[in-house]
């Protein structure tokens, strides 16, 4: 096949992968501490996208800059939500937490549709159309910037988790809450903060989604499908795995787009998801296939 | 003197003997970086009440979990009545005639005592799945077992409302509903007062007289010495001694394991 097209696909794939990694990292983090799939994750990302869109159209605030606005806002929202809603449910029943998450996803979708209509939106910045060329390969500027922003946030998250006391506490809680409690970790508080971080990181992905893709409320279901595929492939709870999986799937999607009609790209994610679950349910980096006895 | 611990190869050879209920041949199991079992072998002779003892962390419960299908050993094989079972799911192993209880008593708390008894009944046919949960003769059997353990009056109570001792008895009674040939008990005396412990020991003896083979993990040495023969000793993930209670008690290797470190 055309080598040039392939290289182009690889470049686009890597850039997309970076953004996907950002969007999925919050999801895997939340699963790690709470053992719950945050079904509302994509809805949260979209809410941040809408907020960014509003800030852009009303104040002309560049979406990349709006990341600095939405992250703290969503951190607070996430912390409050965990403290007053999710903690209420406790660890008794994971299924109830999933249902609440589902309910929140629906509520967010309905609110988005009520306030901003269910038409396609996109954040069209001045540089949305520019690209530059490296040899034969076109690099859309906006994709490069978005990937860059994603890597910055991911880098910050990585540093937080590996270098700080909080990060250590989070990782301990992810591995074994009971042991973590025994060594002095305030598991309840750490869970709340980790959830808030997860939501906050998701929010960072919102403006990026907004500049790269067009969206409307119901697209959250296609997005959550993609993110779940990434997280399952990478191994739920593993940040490293999520990053690797996001890159792999970003590449796979772009390469598939070279050979398949454009519409079918989402199927790549879903086929990978099913494949992984059949062959290696714990994903690439996960360790527990059969959960606690 | 105690016999040398049986090597994996010997266990393999004897695994299919009709007098061997349970044979574990050289199993290894690790978690992350922790080696829980290293080339551990043992065999249980039919009709015995065999004890499995050892200091905390010696791998006894891990051994149980590997035998019953909850963990898959990385190396080695386990034979239940001669059938290799590594890779099988727990329910398949139950159907081969092996039942177990758990260290932390596990019962279905929101079901009634009677319902708890019905769950383990071996369902042989597809049709039996869809007929009434509790058939006449099954109810009779369940009730007679409950009576044997002295908890028949609690029949319709939610199992979670039973006292700790009653729950242990229920777990044991339920384990017998499946008419197992081999019953594995994980610390049956744990948390019970002396009267209860006597009761449990008495039940085990009586069931053994009726043909049930037992493998029992226990820390209570009185219970072990009075009831069990042979006694298998584990330490740091491997079997270090096997023999009659008296021999094991006097074995310097065993004493070292308990007192050393």
């Amino acid at each position: 096949m055309n080598a040039h097209l392939l290289i182009q696909a690889v470049v686009l794939g890597l850039l997309a992968g970076g953004v996907y990694a950002l969007m999925a990292s919050g999801l895997t983090l939340i699963f790690g501490v709470m053992r719950v799939v945050n079904v509302a994750h994509a809805a949260m990302i979209l809410t941040a996208a809408y907020v960014s869109w509003v800030l852009f159209t009303t104040f002309g605030l560049d979406p990349i800059a709006s990341i600095l606005v939405v992250m703290p806002a969503f951190f607070v929202g996430g912390a409050l939500g965990q403290r007053f809603v999710l903690r209420h449910l406790g660890n008794r029943d994971m299924t109830l937490t999933v249902l609440v998450s589902f309910g929140i996803a629906i509520i967010l979708e309905g609110l988005q549709g009520s306030i901003w209509s269910s038409n396609f939106q996109a954040i069209n910045t001045s540089y949305a159309q520019s690209s530059f060329a490296i040899g034969d390969v076109y690099v859309p500027l906006v994709r490069l910037i978005a990937a860059g922003a994603a890597l910055v946030v991911l880098g910050g998250l990585f540093l937080l988790l590996t270098r700080s006391n909080l990060g250590r506490a989070i990782r301990a809680t992810t591995q074994d809450p009971r042991t973590a409690a025994l060594v002095g970790v305030n598991v309840e508080q750490v869970t709340m903060i980790a959830f808030a971080i997860g939501v906050s990181v998701a929010a960072a992905g919102g403006p990026l989604l907004g500049v790269l893709f067009s969206f409307y409320p119901a697209t959250q279901w296609l997005w959550i499908g993609k993110l779940l595929a990434i997280v399952v492939l990478g191994g739920m709870g593993s940040l490293r795995g999520t990053f690797a999986a996001a890159m792999i799937l970003g590449l796979a999607e772009q390469i598939a787009a070279v050979y398949l009609p454009l519409d079918w790209a989402p199927l790549v994610f879903l086929m990978v998801l099913f494949g992984v679950l059949i062959v290696r349910p714990q994903g690439l980096f996960g360790s527990v296939a059969r959960e606690s006895l | 003197m105690t016999a040398a611990p049986t090597a994996a190869a010997e266990v393999e050879a004897a695994a299919r003997d009709s007098s061997t209920s349970l044979a574990v041949a050289g199993i290894t199991k690790s978690f992350g970086g922790i080696q829980a079992l290293t080339d551990a072998s043992l065999s249980v002779t039919k009709g015995t009440i065999t004890a499995l003892i050892g200091p905390n962390g010696s791998g006894k419960t891990t051994m149980f979990n590997c035998i019953t299908g909850f963990y898959q050993p990385e190396q080695g094989q386990v034979y239940v009545n001669g059938v290799p079972i590594v890779g099988k799911r727990p329910s398949d192993i139950v159907h081969l005639g092996l039942m177990r209880t758990f260290q932390v008593t596990r019962i279905f708390r929101r079901m009634t005592v009677l319902e708890n008894m019905i769950v383990p009944i071996r369902q042989l046919t597809f049709r039996s799945l869809f007929t009434a949960a509790i058939k006449g003769h099954e109810q009779e059997r369940a009730e007679s077992l409950l009576e044997f353990f002295g908890i028949l009056k609690l029949r319709d109570q939610p199992a979670g409302s039973l006292s700790f001792g009653q729950q242990k008895l229920l777990e044991l009674a339920a384990a017998l509903m499946a008419d197992p040939e081999i019953v594995m008990l994980d610390e049956p005396a744990g948390g019970l007062n002396p009267v209860m412990i006597e009761k449990v020991a008495g039940h085990v003896k009586e069931l053994n007289a009726r043909g049930v083979t037992f493998l029992i993990i226990e820390h209570n040495m009185g219970f072990v010495m009075n009831l069990c023969d042979p006694v298998i000793v584990m330490h740091r993930g491997t079997v270090i001694a096997q023999g009659s209670p008296g021999a094991v008690r006097d074995d310097p290797i065993v004493l070292d394991a308990y007192l050393g470190d």
Partner: protein, 331 residues
Amino acid sequence: MNMRKQFPIVALALFLVLPVVVHEGFYLDLLLFTFMYAAMSVGWDIMGGYAGYVSLGTVGFFGLGSYAAGLLVIHAGIPVFASAPFIGIVTGILGAGLGWVSLRVRGTSFVIVTLTFASVAQFLMLDLRGITEGSSGLLLPLLNLPADQVILPFYYSMLALLVVAVLVSLAIRRSKFGLGLIAIREEEGKADGSGVNTSLYKILAFAISVSFAGAAGAIHAQYLNTITPDSEFELVITLSVIIMALVGGRGTVWGPVLGAFIIQPLSVYLIYLAPSGIAGQLHLVGLGVILVLVVMFLPNGIIPTWDAWRNARRRPPEVDVPGTTLPEVAS
């Protein structure tokens, strides 16, 4: 107790006779949708209530059933009332396949697979344009009945579906299979260790559970006449089914039915109240809020909560079993 057994029979008799007396399409329409949701909710509860595994993919099976029925009508002339039972069975087989992928390992795979399945199903119906006409949808030929009678076959077939669902649920609830499912919900590891083949049980329960959604979808296709990926894969359908089971009582036979009779009229009323244009969106918000509130404040649902309250008032006498009342202190 007697009332509990007689009430459904009386209600059934009333529903059978009702169309003779009531001719307004509005009420018959409301009832038939209530029957439909009740049936799907009873089905959902077999997996979500008895076994404790929450499926978020109901609408995926519903929509596929709808399209299957539509295509059979258009290309093979088979009326939906004849094909619905078979579509139900095929849906069950599909559910078993999906269950095999996601239920052999415990935990979260199931939620993920069911959720993404619904998306995939909708996506396929949208993109297999050659077969499904994509977003323009399928147009089914109208039934050859006078206008005042045309609703009747739908009314009675949905009622029949509900009756079958309830009978199946009752049978399961009272059987060893049902006891096994509840054991799985309570302590899955212990259930496996008691001889219950948890994978098989779960897969079977899921297959039965989704078959009602497929059959309902089939009948729905003919009722709407025009079906599109949007109309047949509305997330509201999954959402409603779940809320109904939760409100009425997860894990009971009649809970989902009660829930349907409460929620469906409420749902219709919500749409009626909402300003048009965003009625659909506000409907989503309303239902979402109800779901969150129910999970937080009435997680067991009406029937179990009512039962527990009644039992608490009639406390059974303390049982004294000789030999076990000594203080249980570790020696």
